[in-house]
Amino acid sequence: MIPIEHYIIFSSMLLVIGLMIILIKRNAIMILAGVELILNAANINLVAFSQNDPSLSGQMMTLFVIVVAVAESAVALAIVYQIYRHQGISNIDELNELKG
């Protein structure tokens, strides 16, 4: 049996890396990638914890999370696409018309 803590270490590393990607990368799509990493980190936890769960809630949840992630990405990419089309910008930090 793999110790559960190792799963958590694994997931937390992905979590941190995801967070750092979000904060570091200027590209909107890369930020989205960071978000996906965070979601995957949570998924790893869910799967790991549900190994012994007879009701498999964790795994079920993972499936839904994946679906939601897709939906979210789709919307995000639609917006990114529009922004690029209208302003030629794909770096998120160039968007700063709204402030104060």
Binding site: I4, A42, N45, L46, F49, S57, L98, G100
Partner: protein, 489 residues
Amino acid sequence: MSMSSLNEQIQAIIGDFGVLLPEATLIVGSFILIILQLIFKDKAGATKVTFSLFLLGLISLAVSYSSVSGEYFGGLISITPVVGLAKPFFIVVTGFVLLFPKGEDLLKRGEYHFLLLMILLGAMLLIQVNNLLLFYLTLELISITSYILINFNFDRKGFEAGIKYLLFGAMASGLMLYGMSLMYGLAGSLDLIAIGDLISNGQSSGLWLPLALMLFFIGIWFKLALAPMHIWSPDAYEAGPTPVVAYISIVPKVAVLIFFAQFVSTTQLNAIDFDWKMIFSGLAIVSMFVGNLSALNQSNAKRMMAYSSIAHSGMLIIGLIVGDSFGLQAMLFYAIVYAVMNLGAFYLIDLFQKAGFEEIKDLAGLGRKSPWLGVFVVVIMIALAGLPPTGGFTAKLLMFTALWEYYQSEGYQYLIWLFGLGLLNTAISLFFYLKIPYYMFVYPSESEKNIKFSLKDGTIVAVVVFIVLLSFFKADLLLNVLNQFNFAL
């Protein structure tokens, strides 16, 4: 898990579907709207509005038939008395939003109706879920819909706000999800009751449970726009279409508040040896300060209202901090009054924007040209500030009364700070709430522009003002309505 038990389970589920009649109606209706959109394209706005309103009527009918308290779907859904109050409330707010003056352009788009209804669906579901997975899904339903709707001005600012809102929300929900995954690992189930068992068993889980809860709270804070997760809201509010902003400043917030109240009671969060109330109190104070202070120098009315709503969120969660039935009652009272005055404020802002007034200072001298409009603005603004004789005052009074009472029984020192600083914030907030009437009355007019104030606008605003006043002068009416619901969650 045997086949027979499976059968029973399915039978039970099918039987239970009755309670989701409003939601089902909503889903079906919204599909029809999509179809209408496919037929009419971007025309026939009136038909779509009529249909939407009709649909809302149907849903409320359905609500009145199906709101029976109890647990359904094996505990996944639990209908508490509050739900019976909250659902009609959401429906009314949705209906109101459809009447916004500048919404006509939006209302021609079937997608707009559809998305609004999706938020309504999410909110209606959110307040009755009893399970983290469903919570996550409904919350995401609301969130993603909001992300899309914020773009509906279809301009640069709109898209900018949209992506900012989305990425911020995505990160928040990611962190929340991580917290939820940890909670699942600790409790062994996604049901809230399981977490309750975990807490009430009293076995120490070290730092894990608090950590999980805190990560989980991030999502809640995000939806409530509480500091430090408030930063998205000014941008989104400024750029989003006014009706949408009005909508997402009320419905998702109230839904999350109600869910959280249920969360607290189901998971017996008060029993945990971790002073989450202190953290919430701190956040409430910080939110009020951040909201009110930042609003001081805003020149854009909608942005100002965004900060105002951050501050109001800080007020609203006082009800959660108090947590007893009095507190929840006060919170709901506050929420309803806040909804009314916020809708009124946004309605007026929409009216101004329609007439081409973008900045607050453009409003100079307007109050002298249209005194009635000026009076309405004054009433709504002082209501938002929480001065008598408006419902805003009664709401604040009840909220602080509840807080005081809680302090009296518990004696936590931070509560008295919350009390005092909360009141102090009322004073700060006046600076900017009075800015609008101030410009309208005190400053001389510079332009010839005036507001076309149609009968419909007049009636709607007058009704809002009337309710705001009524909820002061006969506050017991509203409170008695609230009293009909049992708040012992």
